[in-house]
């Protein structure tokens, strides 16, 4: 029984990371209808900046903060410089641009910091059952989720962002700067992604370290339903806990297959994810 509780708790810690990455994908998907494949690369560069800053100053928290800022800036730049020109064109163009950013940034990270893994620390003590580091991961992701909810529900900025995503034309007519709102959305999403990246990277940082976490992030987002932030968080924790059981009881090499099985099971029952409402379509 102890073992089971242990697995659940460590699954929750991993699930928090998947939830953060899924949340980041969903914010962008809701705003611009693009699945952001560049997200692991943006988070990767943020984690490398954290590594450099922590190495230079000796303070984990300075590195942590600079990673979040880097994520924000990278997200804003990507949207403004690369995604905006293909907005309203084929959605495939935007997807391929994000793929290009992914390749370019992963290669750039390798060029600057080399492909060799660097040791990358945890926020707090990581030993023992549900260690402070695990608690920090779960807590920080839940805090971010609550802050995002508050932002979207109760602030004028959140209202404008929702309007810009929901009905861009109407929002523009009543004076919302739709383009700016999309940029802000990308910035916030990349910040959340950077948080996920800093939490997912330890103990070693290398250019491909976030790829698997990203795949679980996108799985969590799809399982939860791309139209619902709660779905992303629920999907992330569900996936984290289930994969933790599979890894221990059935073998770690089956984890990726288990993610596939969960995805297929959920989507065969609910093709739009667990938390999406079916939509009527007009012909």
């Amino acid at each position: 029984m102890d073992h089971f509780i242990n697995l659940t708790l460590s699954g929750l810690a991993n699930g928090a990371i998947y939830a953060a990455l899924a949340l980041s994908l969903i914010i962008i998907y809701q705003a611009t209808r693009v699945v952001n494949f560049a997200q692991p690369a943006l988070a990767l560069i943020s984690a490398y900046v954290a590594y450099t800053v922590t190495g230079a100053t000796g303070s984990y928290w300075l590195g942590f903060g600079s990673a979040l800022v880097t994520g924000l800036v990278l997200g804003v730049l990507t949207e403004r410089l690369l995604i905006r020109p293909v907005h309203n064109k084929s959605p495939l163009s935007a997807i391929v641009i994000t793929l290009g950013v992914l390749l370019t940034l992963q290669g750039t990270a390798g060029m600057i910091w080399s492909n060799e893994p660097h040791s990358f620390g945890y926020a707090l003590d990581y030993r023992g059952m549900f260690s402070p580091a695990d608690a920090f991961a779960v807590g920080s992701v839940l805090l971010v989720a609550v802050l995002l909810l508050a932002l979207y529900r109760w602030t004028p900025l959140g209202l404008r962002m929702r309007a810009a995503a929901f009905r861009p034309e109407v929002a523009r007519m009543v004076g919302v700067r739709v383009g700016l709102m999309l940029t802000v959305g990308w910035g916030i999403a990349s910040l959340v992604g950077a948080l996920g990246g800093v939490l997912a990277a330890p103990p070693f940082l290398s250019p491909n370290v976030l790829d698997t976490a990203f795949v679980y992030g996108i799985t969590a987002a799809v399982v939860g339903g791309l139209d619902n932030p709660f779905g992303a968080i629920f999907g992330g924790f569900l996936l984290g806990v289930s994969l933790s059981y599979v890894s221990s009881y059935a073998g770690p090499e089956l984890v990726t297959l288990a993610a596939l099985v969960i995805l297929v099971l959920v989507l065969s029952v609910r093709p739009d994810g667990l938390f999406s409402r079916p939509q009527a379509r007009k012909v």
């Binding site: 020109p85 495939l92 060029m111 250019p207 795949v215 799985t219 065969s268 093709p271 739009d272």
Partner: protein, 357 residues
């Protein structure tokens, strides 16, 4: 390479095409399949001519352009014609490569062509399973599901190491040129011919399908699913069929890769491969087999050029190791921003401008 399907959303051709001679008219009057077969014959002659001038390393590269062309073209049928986005085509290449490898190692007396036919059948079966499971999914849901498939499937090789060889994969040796030609034609050149012959036959089938009734039905579904259903097209079935054809092409490409390299390892079918195939499709230009060729050329040669460039500049190893991937990414972004229709789209626009003059 016989057909170049008209670009989606392209401007209409100039109203009065210049008067052509009797040959052109007779060409247009020929049945579709015959035209495609003649085109494939010409392409095969070109490959034979090209490989007889090159060294064995270039022969290998030409052969890999062949199977990548097929994989990208198959993906193009799925994405460009039926509008479904698959990020998991590496998974079908994985299935194809392992089927071929298992057949060669366990039943060595089976000839290569039969091997490849079985490979296509096996990957089509996989395509039926995946296609049927994902027929109800659309857009990013399908993309997510197929991406997870591409990540999850290579783990099968790690799970059954005694059959599938674990992380080292399966290696085997294939027969090269027949004994009569052994001294005349190097093995790699023979392999390049075999690969291209298989690729061209598959491309003929692909081109004939996409110009025919099934192709029209797929385009109708891509443009408006509900309207297509109202017009009597069986949406679900057509989508699954598109997935199966596309999976068959990917599987054959994987099988040819295994035949060419003599190995099948899980690490060569990573997510990056699946994503690169989609990127190559957009880079080359959707809706045309020529676009698939340009995409495959880019897949093979950007890496070569990146390495050459890194050698020429005498960069540090960490920079030179990553130069090809950065080059590919930057060119991908530049092409999508400059020519959203891909290289083939830009070329056909150039040609139209030239014809108008």
């Amino acid at each position: 390479m016989a057909s170049s399907v008209k670009q989606r959303g392209a401007a209409p051709a100039p109203s009065a095409p210049p008067e052509r001679g009797g040959i052109a008219a007779r060409w247009a009057a020929m049945p579709l399949l015959a035209r495609h077969l003649l085109g494939a014959l010409a392409a095969f002659a070109a490959v034979v001519a090209l490989t007889s001038m090159t060294d064995s390393l270039t022969d290998l590269r030409i052969a890999s352009i062949g199977y990548y062309t097929l994989a990208v073209a198959g993906l193009g049928l799925l994405v460009g014609f039926s509008g479904q986005i698959s990020l998991g085509h590496g998974a079908f290449m994985f299935i194809g490569a392992y089927t071929t490898a298992l057949l060669v190692t366990n039943v060595p007396m089976v000839p290569l062509w039969l091997n490849l036919v079985i490979t296509v059948v096996a990957s089509c079966v996989a395509g039926v399973l995946v296609g049927a499971a994902s027929a109800r999914l659309h857009g990013p849901y399908l993309a997510g599901a197929t991406l997870t498939l591409a990540v999850g499937l290579p783990a099968v090789a790690l799970r059954f190491p005694e059959v599938l060889g674990g992380s080292n994969g399966l290696s085997f040796s294939t027969r090269g040129a027949p004994p009569a030609l052994a001294g005349v034609i190097p093995d790699t050149r023979w392999q390049a011919w075999a690969v291209w012959l298989a690729v061209l036959l598959a491309l003929v089938a692909l081109a004939t399908i996409s110009k025919g009734r099934l192709g029209r039905q797929m385009r109708a579904i891509r443009d408006d699913e509900s309207a297509a259903a109202l017009a009597g097209i069986k949406v679900g079935r057509t989508k699954v069929v598109a997935f199966v054809i596309s999976a068959g092409c990917g599987g054959l490409a994987g099988g040819l890769q295994a035949y060419l390299l003599g190995t099948a390892t899980p690490s060569s079918f990573s997510v990056v491969l699946s994503l690169s195939l989609l990127a190559a499709l957009i880079l080359g230009g959707m809706g045309s087999l020529w676009g698939a060729l340009w995409g495959a050329l880019a897949l093979v040669y950007f890496e070569v050029w990146g390495e050459t460039l890194a050698d020429a500049l005498e960069l540090e190893s960490k920079v030179s190791n990553n130069l090809p991937i950065v080059l590919y990414g930057v060119i991908l972004i530049a092409v999508v921003l400059a020519w959203p229709q891909g290289i083939q789209g830009a070329l056909s626009r150039l040609r139209r401008r030239w014809q108008r003059r």
